[in-house]
Amino acid sequence: MVNLTIDDKQVTAPKNATIYEAAKANGIKIPILCHDKKLKPFGACRMCLVEVEQMKGRQIPACTTPATEGMIIRTSTPEIVKARKMVLELLLLNHPIDCPVCDKGGDCDLQNLTYEYKVDANRFVDEKFHLDIDYANPLIERDMNRCVLCGKCARICDEIVSFGAYTFINRGIETKMGCEFDEALNCEFCGSCVSVCPVGSLLARPFKFKARWWALTKQKSVCSYCGTGCNLTLGVKDNKVLTTVYDENQGFHNGQLCCRGRFGYQFINSDKRLTAPLVRKNGVLVETGWDEALEIVVGRLKGGIAVAALATPRMTNEELVLFKRLMETVGSPNYDHSAGYAHAALTKGFARSFGTSASPSTILDIQKSDLLLVIKTDAYETHPVVGFEINLAVKNRGVKLNLLSDKRGKLSKLPGAKTLVHTPGSEIAVINAIAKSILDAKLADGSAVAVPGYADLEQALAGFTPEAVAAQSGLSAAQIKELAADYAQAEKALIIFPIGLAYAGHDSEFASAVANLAILTGKLGREGCGVLCMAEKNNSQGAVDMGFYAPLGGMDAGRIIDGCASGAVKTLFIAGENPAVSYPDHARVQAALYKVECLIVSDLFLTETAAQADVVLPACSFAEKEGTFTSVDRRVQYFKPAIRKIGQSRSDFEIFAALIARLGGQAPASPAAAFAEITAATPAYTGMSYASLGEQGAFAAVTVKPALIAPQAPAPAGAPGKLALVVGSALYHNGTMSQHGEGPMYVCPEGYVELSRGDAARLGIADNDLLTVASATGSVKLKAKVSLRMPEGVLFTPYHFGATPVNQVWSGAAVTWVTLDK
C-alpha cells in the first residue's frame, strides 16, 4: 500500500494503483473518456489531467501515472479545469452536435462532461467530418464523425475479444477508427466495442430510435443462454425489453457480454411468442383457456402410469424442483433433461471421480492459473465470455494455453497457444495416454498413490502408452509426452471442457479421464487448479443439483424416447426442450413424438416439438419471472422479473404449482418458498436465501472426494472413403432458443458444414455450395464453409437449426461417418 494526499485528503492505495484508481477507490472522481477499468491504461484523451506537487505542478494524466508514496495531488484546480475545458472544446470542434437524434444522448460521456464543465461556447472553429456511416450490418452502426479517438473499441476488441476488428487508420487530423482496408465492419459482433464507446460512434442498431436512455427502466438480471452465468441489465420500456445496458460493475466479467447476451434478447418480446394455451381439436391446435388446458393435462397425468417428463435446463432451480415434485405427485420416476447424456460428465463422471456432480473449480480460477488445458477449441463458441477470460489470462497474465481438440479454433491463435489436433473420437485415449505419460515420467503427485483406484488405473493405463495412442490419434508420442510434462510440471493448471447436447463424446468416461489428470498431479483444491466442466445451458448445473435426471428405477431420456415409440410411455410432458431438433436421431425422436398418445409441451414458442403436441402451454421467459440459476461454476444467482408476463403466458413455476394443486398435492406458494425448501434439502445450497444471494450470487459449496477411475476409451473407428462429422455449437448460438435472437441469427443465420481447404479442393467444393451430407441414419442439405481450422477428413456442423436439422444424419455418436455430395 502507498500513502498519498489527494485534494488535501490523506488516502492509501494498493501498490500498483494509478492515480486515477487511487482517487476512485477513495471516492474522488476524476473525469475520463478513454479509460476503462477492464483495459490497459492508454492516456489518449487528456481529460484526467491532475497536478502533482512533486512534479512542479505539471499536469499529468491520472490514468497512466502510478500512485507513489507521498504524492500530493490536486484533481481540480482552476488551471486543471481550464485545461479540461479546452480538451472538450477541441473534441467538440469536429464532433457533430446531433445529440437530439443520437441514441447515446443521456448516456454519453462527452455530452455529460461538456455539461459538467459548462462548455457553452467554443473558441475554435473547424469543419466537421463528413465520413460515410457504416450501416452494412444490422447490429452495430459505426458513425466515425462522432468519434473522439479514445481507441477503446480497438483495445477491447484486441485485449478481451482478441478479434482485432479495429485500428487507427491514417495519421494526424485524418486519423479515424476503422477496419482493414477501411471496409465495413465484419466481425463476431459481440458488441463489446458498443458497450465501451463513450460517444455515439458505435451504436446497437436493434435499439436505434427505440427509447431515450433516461426513459428506460434498468433491471438487473442473469443471462438465460449459456451456463457462464453472466449478469445482464435489461433496458425496459412499455413492458418491452428493448436493449441490454452495459454496466462495468456487474458480475465477474465486469459487464462484458457476448453477442447472444447483448443482441439476443429479442425472443422475450418476439411476436412469435405463445400467448394462450393451445389444445388439439380435430387434429388442429386451437386456443383455449388455462382451465381447460390444465384439466386435460391433469386428466392425463393422474395415476402416473406411463407418464414421463423431459425438461430444459433453462428453467429455474425452483421450477425444476417443482417439476420433479409434480412427477413425484403423479408417481412417475421417468424424468430427465438434455437427452439424458449431455449431463453424464457431471452426474456420472464427476460423481464417481470427485464424489460430487459439480466442477471443483470456478471461472475465477482461469486468471489465477499458470496453465490452461482446454479440451475442444469449441469452448470459445459454447461459452464466449469464458473465452474472453481465457484471452485475458493468456494475453495479460502470461498464462500458458494448451489446446487438445479435433479442430483448431480462435483460441489456437492466442500468443503461445499450443494446439494438438487429434483425430475425432480419440480424445479419451489421448487423455489416458497423457495420464500414462505422467505416471511413466514419475510426474505424478505423491498424494496420488493413496487415492482409491490408483492401482486399478495404473493397470488399466498399461495399454495407453503414448506410442500406442499416437497411431490412432494422429498425434506423435512426443507431442503427448510434452503435453503431459507441460501440464504436470505447471505449478497451477486448470482443465476446461464443454459439455452439451452436441458434445456426445464428452461423456462420463471422458470426464473421469480428465479428472484423473487433475487427481494424479495433485492439481485439485487449490486456487487456479482443478477442472471446469462447462455445461451448455444457463441452469444445467442447477438441473443436476436439483436432481432432475433419471433416478434409480426411472427411465432416462433415451429410454423415454424409445418408450414413447414402443407404447411404454403414453403421456410425455416436455417443458422447454425441443427434441425434434436438438436430440440426436431425428427419425427416432419423430417416431416417439408421433406415437406417444398424449404430448404436452410448455414453451415460449410453437417449436418443432410443440407443433406436434396435443396440449401446448405458453410459458414465459426469464425476464418475466423470478428465481435462481446456477452457473457452470456453481454460482447461484437470483433474478427478478423485468417485465409483466406476455399475453396469458405463465411461468413454469405457476404451471407446475397449478398442476400439483389440481392433483391434490402441496406446492410451495412462491419461488422464494421453493428456494427455502431447496436450501434445506440440498447441502451445497445450505444457508442461501434470495436476500443473501444479492447481486453477487453465492457459490454452492463443493466437497471433493477424489477417486481414480479407469476410463473406457472407445475403439478407434474409421470408415474408408468417408469423412468424420463432428457436431458442435456455432459461435453465439445456444440450444435452439438462439434462433429467436437477432444477434446470433445475423452472425450465423443457418446450418452449415465446415470442411478443410484440402478436402474442398479434392472434392471440388467452394464456399456456399449446397452439399448433401449423408450418413447411415439419413441425409441433410447444408451449405459448405471452407475453413483453415479444419483438419483434412473432418467435418464440423452446428446443431441448432430447425430448418436444417442435423439430427437427420447424427444419431448421437461422438463421430458420424458421412459422405459429401454436391
Binding site: A154, D158, G164, I169, E180, D182
Partner: protein
C-alpha cells in the same frame, strides 16, 4: 488502349504471385517484431502492398488484418496501390516554390495526364509533390527514382518524360 479500358486496367489489381510473399515471410517468421521488415520487403518486391499479400501476412504472422492496415496507413513509405516504374517527385517546398515549382508541377500534370499521388495506367509513372528534398540550392528540384534534376524548367520536364518513356518497363 482506350481510356475506358486503361481505366479498368488501372483499377483491377494485377495478378499477384504469392510465392514471393511466402518467401519473405519464411525469412522473417521467427524474428520478434517482424511486421515492419516483412511489409518493407513485400513492398520492395511488389512495389506496393497488394490486398492479398496483406491478408497472407496477417494469416501467417498471426497479426490482425486491421492492425496491418493501421501500420500501412500510418507510414508514408507504404503504398496500397500499384506504383509506376518511375516515381517522379517534384519539390514544392519554399525555395522551389519561389523558383517556380508550381509551373513544373502543372507541366508534369499536363504531360502525364495524372495528378498528385497518381499513377499512369501503363504503370510507367507515378507523380508526387513533396515538401522538401533537401537540396534547396538546386531549386526548383525534381527526382525520378534516385536521379536528381536541378534547376528544372518546362523544357526539362519534356526531356525527362521523353527520356523515361524510352526506358524499358521491367
Amino acid at each position: 488502349m482506350s481510356d475506358a479500358v486503361a481505366q479498368q486496367a488501372a483499377e483491377q489489381e494485377p495478378v499477384v504471385d504469392l510465392s514471393l510473399a511466402h518467401k519473405i515471410i519464411d525469412k522473417y517468421i521467427d524474428m520478434p517484431g517482424n511486421l515492419m521488415p516483412v511489409l518493407q520487403a513485400a513492398q520492395d518486391e511488389y512495389g506496393y502492398i497488394p490486398r492479398v499479400v496483406a491478408d497472407l501476412i496477417a494469416e501467417r504472422l498471426n497479426v490482425y488484418p486491421s492492425q496491418i492496415y493501421g501500420v500501412l496507413t500510418f507510414y508514408a513509405q507504404f503504398h496500397l496501390k500499384p506504383r509506376g516504374r518511375f516515381i517522379i517527385r517534384v519539390c514544392v517546398g519554399t525555395a522551389c516554390h519561389v523558383q517556380g515549382a508550381p509551373r513544373i508541377v502543372e507541366t508534369f500534370f499536363d504531360k502525364l495526364g495524372i495528378g498528385h499521388a497518381e499513377t499512369t495506367p501503363d504503370l510507367r509513372f507515378t507523380f508526387e509533390k513533396v515538401a522538401c528534398l533537401g537540396a534547396c540550392g538546386m531549386a526548383p528540384l525534381a527526382m525520378v527514382n534516385d536521379a536528381t534534376y536541378g534547376s528544372m524548367t518546362v523544357q526539362k520536364v519534356e526531356e525527362i518524360i521523353t527520356d523515361y518513356n524510352q526506358r524499358p518497363l521491367k
